[in-house]
């Protein structure tokens, strides 16, 4: 039986093509060869290998042969111990190949002139050495030799031979934005087996390419020293450079059991590593955020991430809890927040402007008490004098408290809990997410079921405080949490951190109502400036006094229903309101004319002035309809009047064409109250062409 076959069972999901080379361990030994033509002084060989369908034993599956046909180097897989070994010139380099990840990139490098040989697994150097060996002319791949024991199959794909380092097989992003998982580097800790499991889970759930999984040997402690952090920072940078990902990656996610804090000064004041990694700077100082947006305008694109990057962290006391953070982010997508799920916003804008820079508090207050927060279309509770003491089922909490959450703050567990952000650093800074007994805001929020939680790990400059109107507007526009978090921060690297899946957005409900007006005419309504933005559960709405018409005036309001997809065209209603003796009433106005400068009809040399009501005049309580004329600069006078009969919905006045420019309006009289229609366009005397007239004969 042939050992080698081509199987279309699925290669790396992020790369084109689905066919792999399948090596059957129970078949004959068989290899594929490439004759490189001449002996290659420098050669790099890389292939992707999936050993998850084979058990036990050892197999030699790749190698090089010199011009005389002699073996130069080989690569073996120890399937029992999950190891890969590069053999060359008496040197052996071995690396772990944990099968918690399906596909692995294995790359060997040989330079005959210097004797330098190297092994790189999953894009990370695993060893270099010097050896004496001949130049490679033939490379092979296949089932060269196997020990007794292996059963099953090994899949191999993307075999590359080159004259310089190759790196992991990259997947080109389709999107310029950070929502594309190909723009994220996911760091996991090879020193912790569960970290590898988490990495593969995350890769599978988010579609992160294998090339973007950066497995490093890191401390297993949550807090690192300055030296350990510096090593980690450099390894991440090396990975980006070595694998050609520097320009592609816009975000770095620190995964489960990757260190999360650095004690750079050795004083116990911890800074989140995700905060530091916003830039490549070696120093630990805060920096101005070049992507901070004082007003949200455009979503940042990849080319703008020159000196700054997005970051994120997912960690928890246990692997299951870390995966739960992924689940919670998924749940927010599958079941978006809605007004009727008890999903409220709790905005605590303490402290007031006296205690923090007005530059921070005033925009926050404007946002929280104005239409800004209403854009999120959730019931909102704003605290501006005192801090809340409980949160029963708040989907979003943005707050400032001077202590860890009091006992019982999160009254219930779970529910619609999206994100909890608390920004007071003392006295209980968030310096761990791995300790299930921690009581700080970060841990408490995660334990309460939030998908995301943010809190500082140390004191910081208040100038660094993120601004909620920027953060939530980014989210409202569908940006990822990481993007919204970044653009909301005036300064970076100052001790603030956000835990949770940074690649995902938090969809806020779109359904609701937009109220526009007051406006004298519909066509004058500014649809960019709603009077009010309401969630879908609102059944009545009180107009502020300053937005009501003056006594005796009538204005239009428009209520536009927004559907769940944010579409505004499926329903709307208008209201024409007037104020009479301080009471807002709804006048019985004609259905036509409604707009100022309405056109007058002319038929057989006479003017025909018609008005229509949506219901019969008697049903509307209209006692009389008058026609008022205003010639030139004269005062308006009543030209004629009719008393409607039962069921009448239309009133028509037929009059002569005026002798001087004249305009007309209808007045409907309801008891002591009358309501004016808009004035018509001015009608010119006979013999003067008038654009205000509509000639029925001409058009019929």
């Amino acid at each position: 039986m042939s050992a080698l076959s081509q199987i279309s069972t699925g290669s790396l999901p992020e790369l084109p093509g689905s066919t792999v080379l399948r090596m059957d361990m129970t078949g004959d030994h068989e290899v594929l060869r490439v004759d490189l033509g001449t002996p290659r002084e420098t050669l790099f060989c890389r292939f992707m290998v999936n050993p998850t369908q084979v058990a036990g034993g050892e197999v030699v599956l790749a190698g090089g042969i010199d011009a005389q046909g002699r073996s130069v180097w080989q690569v073996t897989l120890d399937l029992t111990n999950e190891l890969v070994t590069f053999h060359v010139g008496g040197v052996q380099m071995t690396s772990a190949l944990p099968t918690s990840l399906a596909w692995h990139s294995v790359e060997v490098g040989l330079d005959t002139s210097t004797g330098l040989v190297s092994l790189r697994v999953n894009g990370v150097p695993r060893g270099t050495a010097t050896a004496v060996f001949n130049a490679t002319q033939h490379a092979w791949l296949g089932v060269g030799f196997i020990s007794i024991g292996p059963t099953g199959t090994i899949d191999v794909d993307h075999w590359v031979l080159a004259d310089s380092p190759i790196g992991v097989p990259r997947s080109t992003p389709a999107d310029e934005h950070a929502g594309d998982p190909r723009r994220w580097l996911v760091v996991y800790n090879r020193s912790d087996a569960e970290s590898c499991v988490w990495a593969d889970t995350y890769r599978d759930r988010r579609g992160v390419p294998y090339a973007n999984l950066c497995g490093l040997v890191l401390p297993t402690t949550e807090t690192t020293s300055a030296g350990e952090y510096e090593s980690m920072r450099q390894q991440i940078g090396d990975y980006l450079d070595d694998n050609g990902l520097r320009d592609q990656i816009v975000g770095v996610l620190l995964g489960y059991r990757v260190p999360g804090y650095a004690d750079v000064a050795g004083t116990g004041s911890l800074t989140p590593i995700a905060s530091y990694l916003h830039t490549d700077d070696a120093h630990g100082l805060p920096v101005v955020n070049p992507l901070y947006q004082s007003e949200i305008t455009q979503r940042p694109i990849a080319s703008e991430f020159v000196s700054v990057r997005l970051t994120g962290r997912i960690d928890a006391p246990t692997l299951a809890e870390a995966i739960a953070l992924i689940d919670r982010a998924d749940d927010l997508i599958a079941n978006p927040l809605a007004h009727d799920q008890g999903a409220d916003l709790l905005i605590d804008i303490n402290p007031d402007s006296a205690s923090i820079s007005p530059g921070y508090t005033l925009p926050v207050q404007d946002w929280a008490t104005g239409q800004g927060v209403a854009q999120l279309r959730l019931p909102t509770i704003v605290y501006d004098e005192q801090a809340p003491t409980t949160a029963s089922n708040e989907a979003v909490i943005w707050g400032w408290r001077d202590a860890a959450p009091p006992a019982g703050f999160f009254e219930t567990q779970g529910g619609r809990r999206a994100i909890c952000l608390q920004f007071d650093p003392l006295p209980d800074p968030a310096v761990t997410v791995r300790d299930a007994a921690a009581t700080d805001w970060l841990s408490a929020a995660m334990q309460a079921g939030y998908a995301y939680a943010a809190a500082p790990s140390r004191a910081y400059s208040l100038s660094s405080l993120p601004l909620p109107h920027l953060f939530f507007e980014g989210l409202r526009r569908g940006w990822t949490v990481a993007e919204a978090w970044l653009v909301a921060q005036p300064f970076l690297r100052d001790g603030l951190q956000l835990i949770g899946d940074p690649l995902m957005p938090i969809p806020f409900p779109q359904a609701g109502y937009d109220v526009f007006g007051p406006s004298p005419r519909l066509d004058l309504i500014d649809f960019d400036k709603p009077l009010a933005v309401l969630h879908a559960g609102v059944k009545q709405f009180a107009i502020d006094a300053e937005d009501l018409p003056a006594q005796g005036q009538a204005v239009r309001y428009l209520v536009r229903a927004i559907d769940a997809q944010g579409r505004s065209d499926h329903a709307s209603a208008t209201a024409y309101l007037a104020v009479d003796s301080g009471q807002v009433i709804r006048p019985a106005l004609p259905a036509w004319p409604t707009d100022a400068e309405w056109l007058v009809l002319e038929r057989a040399g006479q003017l025909v002035l018609s008005a229509y009501w949506p219901a019969s005049l008697d049903a509307l309580g209209i006692d009389m309809v008058q026609l008022v004329v205003q010639s030139g600069s004269d005062d308006p006078v009543t030209h004629s009047a009719v008393t409607p009969v039962t069921g009448q919905r239309r009133v028509v006045f037929t009059i002569d064409r005026p002798a001087e420019p004249t305009r007309y309006r209808f007045i409907s009289v309801q008891g002591v109250t009358s309501f004016d229609s808009p004035w018509s366009a001015e009608v010119l005397p006979a013999g003067i062409p008038s654009q205000s007239l509509t000639l029925l004969e001409a058009s019929s």
Binding site: D28, R33, V34, L43, S71, T76, V143, I146
Partner: protein, 246 residues
Amino acid sequence: MTILKYVDFEVPNFGELALPSMAVPDYASAVMALTPLAYWRMGEQTGTTLADETGNYPLQLSGAHSLLQDGALTYDNNEAIHFSGAVATANAPLLPGGVNAPFSVAFWVRAPAGPIDGGAIMGQFTTTSIGHTRLHIPDDGRLRLTILNGVDVYSTQQIDTSWRFAVLTRSGAGLVRWFVDGQLDVEQSGGGDAIAPIDFLLGQVTTNSVNFFLDEVAIFHHELSADQVRWLYGLAMGQLALPDGL
């Protein structure tokens, strides 16, 4: 970076590769493909008969020995035999008798820990008579061929406690070569002496006691080429080389 070759296996029948796939035989198959006169794998689990893979020359074993020793081949579970006084007899001459008759003997050998207790380990020898032939491992650990009143060739490399692949070849022109671990070690011309046509022995050929491990012994009535020796060594070690002609 210059990509010399990129194969993603999307083209049917390995169409991205100019060369057809190559079968890689296991060591025993490769030996048999070289048409040995006799080939004893030494993997017996019990008994005193050592099977010949060709079916022609089973050996009868007597004396002190231990079966089921760890074998020499890296990717093969076949066992080896520890000879500690035993001798195995073929009841036939296996080394060719004619002057300049070519032949080869390939075997894997290692010494037990401690000083080497040297002596002849195989041959066609009964007395110190012309043409009686022995392959020795002297106390210094080198390999040696002697044909009485004829050639006497030592290897430069020495046997130790690790398995070594030893191949002795004689060409039709009387050129004698020792190969060790797939590489030519020494060669000496003028070695085409006639070999006495007496029974082939394996183990303690003379009264000198010897103590060593043997595995995968094969005799050929032709001269193995250097490429063939290297090919066999690579297959044994799990190192793929290209066989002669490829």
